[in-house]
Amino acid sequence: MLDKVRTSLCHHCQAPVSEAERCEALIGGTLHSFCCQGCAGAARLIDTLSLNAFYDYRASCDTSLPASSQRKARAVQDFLPAVAHTPEGVTLHLLIPDLRCVACVWLLEQVLGRQDGVQEVKVNFARRRLQLRFNDSSRLPALVNLIEQLGYSPVPDLPDAGREAGKALRRAQLLRLGVAGLCMMPVMMFALASYLAGPPTAQNPASGMDPLYESLLRWASLALSTPVVFYSAAPFHRGAWQALRHRQLGMDLPVSLAILAAWVLSVYNTLSFGSAVYFDTACMFAFLLLLGRHVELLSREHFEDNADHLLRLLPTTARRRAAGNDAEFATVPMHEIVAGDVLQVLPGETLPADGVLLEGSASISEAAFTGEPLPVLRTAGARVLAGALNHDGTLLVQAASAPQDYRITRLARLQDAAMAYRPRWSLLADRAAGWFIGTVLVLAAGAGVAWHLAGSPDAWVIALTVLVVACPCALSLATPVAITVATTTLRRHGVLIRNGAFLERAAATTTVAFDKTGTLTEAQLQVQSVIPLGERSAEECLALATALERHSEHPIARAFATPTTLVASDVDVVPGGGVSGTIDGHACRLGQSAFACLSEPALTPPDEDGLWILLCGPGPLAWIGLQDTLRPDAAAMLEALRHDGLCTTLYSGDPSPGGLRLAQSLPLDEVRTGMSPAQKIAAVRTEGERGTVMMVGDGINDAGAMAAAACSIAISPRDVLVQNSADATLVTPALLGLPAVLRYARRARRIIRQNLLWSLLYNLSAIPLALAGLLPPWLAAIGMSLSSLLVVFNAGRLRRMEG
């Protein structure tokens, strides 16, 4: 029995199916619809291998990442650098950016694992890497082809010193964290025993426990805490020492000193059977700080992976014209390109070099630089950039520089620098802590000397108690723990934070400035109006246009999806002009008026907003107006911001009156259109003198305004996670996430302030008591643990997004 399933989503890649390209296939007795032949082929292949369970498994996975729409087969030689020859066989390393869920991992493992000669398939889902070991390098093309047939776009994963170092760092940090965690648990359990045993007695100055067991517990704690203090906490000691060598009191110094002081005092008391031990404090402190650092590293790595993708826009090889022979092209690796080389670029390929177009013309999109998805016509003599996509022409490009000087390479380097940058507030906290620890050191030494002069036998213990009690554990945990929890929570809700200062500044935001295209609008053209000029109706004209545009790859073509039975023949796509073809014996042309209308003098478009193209067949038939559309939740989001008392402004680069009208339909406090990037920067600066500005954009062409604003957040366009320069990125397409993020940032700031206040109060009240010798060391240890725990639990309240 045939079940005809008609869904609007592609059965394989789950992208919306456009009527124009829809195709159907019979899979396992059911008729499914697909968005393209590629997807139908993939589903058929999966069916032949009887792996249909993939679709069931996928249904249970969270496929929040969108499918990639652009599929571009790579040449086999591109993959050769990613192949390693080992005694056991040939290993291929691939990055698969569109690995969307664990079901995909399962599918790849099943399919590849069944191929002859494949020895091992390892898929790392978190990092989207595939490692494939097989016996014979001649199988490489077939295996890569198979992965592409399944609908994935594998990219060679080239060995990279930076990433290798990152991997080593992550592993070392995980080891430190694990050692600290595993040792902390029993040490805290041992400590609990002596806390529970009650106050000191005449027999035992530490607690009410039998001295034999007490010292047994202490020796066990000593054994287990030593690796924590000297292995896990080593980065803190190293950081403190390096700061000291540069004559600075860094943030690591109090941490390192507190851990060491707690441990040294405890060892001293264990040996001399003194009053109290603080092994648990040292361990817990090291563990919590390491945990914070690890989470921070993981969230930073997420961005570094994306930074890699920027350079991955570049192809790995190029076709270079041979020196003597103009018609001969040799494939060379990217790094061999030098200034002056003439390179050939075929339609659908990415430009391999910055340079000048020598021959040919084509629509080229430079989305990576301008954020503008619409391709622009470039003709001979124009300057082009590496990383831009050539849509439809065969080009000859003369390289102007070597790859290390490409604009895209410089952009990637700038990004690296931005990532390594430490926010100002963090440096300020360092300086404050340095001052604080300096005071504490003087106080502790002073107390020790004073009590020694006064003849007290406990002078040494009192000095160390001051040091322990004054240790700014809670103070130095207060902010990082809260930020760690907040970063993790936001990431779970689809907000990626790159700059640690983002939360702090977002909480202080008074004005939110928006970019228009791609932020408040979808950045996708739709047919807005049709003005018939001839005898044909608007519907007929749209049908004709759809039949023509079906053959075009140009982004404008996506706006046409009218169901039609008309078929165009003799279709010719002219870059920068339009489409022409024959429908039912009529020669039809669609495009700019000069292109579409051959005989008559060029018509002027109706005096209305938007982009107008003319349909002729052969006489003028209709003007078709295309316009960008507002995101459905833009108005609701602006209302929510206004309800929270924030000022909203729009800085748009679009000079058209239509853009202004579109913006004026929204509840904005201020609208300015037709602004150049420099004007945007100036406007943000002026606004910044009155309050704190948050810039919201797509993060590519408004990078300058984003840098000028106190903080920035990028909203990713509908289906791609683009590279951007913003402090944070909203991954989910729902705009209403933005007011929620701002509310959350304010709540995070409140909790950080509570934490700081509490830990300051604790330190300020405990230090005088310890100086006076009134604080028994066991009470100091409990107080220190409790104050840190309180700070941690308070930060834990941030695990809920709302509240």
Binding site: L51, W106, V123, L175, V179, L182, A220, A223
Partner: protein, 66 residues
């Protein structure tokens, strides 16, 4: 209470054993990808499923689609 004299050293030894296990598993990339393994339990290997279907002598109603 004398039992503690044995139990506490035993605890220390157990912790050292788990430390060794942790270090071993980290060095062997066991923690590199945590998502995939959590899901794998839900995915059957189709080869095994087929084997199960053919090896069973009695008809297994729950495996057959109705």
């Amino acid at each position: 209470m004398e039992l503690f004299l044995v139990l506490i050293p035993v605890t220390v030894v157990l912790v050292l054993l788990s430390l060794w296990a942790f270090v071993w598993s980290t060095r062997n990339e066991q923690f590199d990808d945590l998502d995939r393994q959590a899901w794998s339990i839900l995915f059957e290997d189709p080869d095994q499923r087929r084997k199960q279907d053919t090896s069973g002598t009695e008809p297994r109603a729950e495996d057959e689609p109705r």
